[in-house]
Subunit: 253 residues, 2 copies
DNA sequence: AATCCATATTTGTATGATAATTCGGCCACA
DNA sequence: TGTGGCCGAATTATCATACAAATATGGATT
């Protein structure tokens, strides 16, 4: 613990289970995403962070480098570190997305996600129908089978995620893959109420099967339609949402 | 320069003009994106990098943290740093995209980009028509005016980029903003031949104007159609491409 | 053959020192 | 009065060294 002077130390208990520099990055990242430090603001300097967290400068700098690499910060000599404008944030980075979700209204989150999903997933399904390799088709099929075995319930979330990610991979376009993280986050967190709140749980499996079949026989149009249909169902599920929203809101640092 | 033993030092001249740790990150990043180190491969350890680049461990570690934050690496004690699977790479990160382009076939790059643009940009235009604020509309308009003033030619690239980015911002969906980087890269690099190779340069301005007008009067359907039309033009422009492709291919490390 | 343990390797963290950059004010000069 | 350059201070950038922590690996033990 390098620089002198005392200061309020901040608890990092919330981010336990990883390296110290990673905990710092998480803590600072959360603060940026939650608006404690707005775009354009100058952050405390390295010595300050050392005091705040009781960590060495080496560690602090590694945390700052991590955030810089994610587009949240930019450091300049004699100035310090300044928060970058939102357009530069790598929101589809796994960490950044998690920090974002922790301080965002879940309703807004799902609205934004569904908006994008309805744009992309039908086209992803269409591309998958055309571009899929046999191996990729097998991955999609296996995920679907696992989903069917699990029926509805907590166990069906993982295969569901795998299904959508396998579909995404089968589209075979690098610039679409970053969305996997968003889809994963959405499906995982959505479960809390889809399971209890789904007005038509019986349609869950058949709708997925519709996509699978279309992709299998290479029918892009049908795949697109099936994917959109599933998403429309999801929209309806989310409709009865606000009551449970609060539970998803995680604490900040 | 910390650890002992001599080794082949690597030139970083190519990445001049920035911090040392940034140069290292660029050099290593390029090597990963170009396949020198494939997913799953173990990289040289920190001491090795120190010897290779003649830098201190502190600096090497900051470079590694940068790459880790972009999803290219993961470090574990006693193991070293392993290249992550491609799905985890933040391809829409500005740096990662640049490294990717440096080692990718430009033809493939434009194909992939256009595929995604044709999915997203029409919907972005449609959303912008609905969600734009007056301020955002002004930004789009100003970019368009600058584009018109510049006519075709090198000077029209910057306003063209601004136009598309302003449109993107006006869609008002956080999860779409990461594509700004891709659009920017595509438009910027595409210019080398659109200017000389555009079969219908006269349509360039009117097509953009079509989008602007539709967005201005809040007509989502028209905006979607206009955006798609522009992209179809771009496709045709790219068609006469391969002859000049080589020029875009940048050297690797 | 299976289990446990010591050891070596590699990353993780701390400390202190020096270099490089550059903002902002001061001063000389026109 | 303005303008340009110089200087000092604040902050990040880099280096060197030391020790801590984690863990894969092989060898000892049962």
């Amino acid at each position: 613990m390098n620089p002198g002077k005392s200061s309020h130390k901040v608890s990092l208990a919330k981010f336990a289970g990883s390296n110290l520099h990673r905990k710092l990055a998480q803590s600072i990242g959360n603060q940026i995403l939650s608006g404690v430090y707005a775009p354009g603001a100058i952050l405390p300097n390295e010595a300050d962070w050392c005091r705040i967290y009781g960590a060495s400068r080496t560690t602090v700098r590694e945390a700052v480098k991590t955030l810089t690499a994610k587009g949240l910060l930019k450091s300049r000599t004699k100035i310090g570190s300044r928060v970058e404008p939102r357009e530069n944030w790598n929101i589809l980075d796994r960490d950044v997305l998690a920090w974002h979700m922790a301080s965002m209204n879940p309703q807004e989150f799902f609205n934004s996600v569904q908006e994008v999903r309805k744009i992309l997933e039908p086209e992803i399904a269409a591309l998958a129908a055309i571009n899929r390799t046999p191996q990729q088709l097998r991955a999609i099929t296996e995920a679907f089978e696992d989903m069917r075995k699990a029926k509805a319930g907590l166990n069906s979330v993982a295969p569901d995620v795998r299904f959508h990610l396998a579909l995404l991979a089968a589209a075979n376009n690098v610039f679409l893959t970053p969305f996997g993280i968003m889809i994963e986050a959405a499906l995982t967190n959505m479960f809390e109420f889809t399971s209890t709140n789904n007005p038509e749980p019986d349609m869950f499996i058949p709708k997925h099967e519709g996509i699978l079949k279309a992709v299998k026989r290479g029918n892009a149009r049908a795949a697109r339609k099936a994917a959109l249909s599933l998403l429309t169902d999801t929209d309806h599920t989310i409709a009865g949402f606000p009551a449970k929203a609060k539970k998803l809101k995680k604490a900040r640092d």
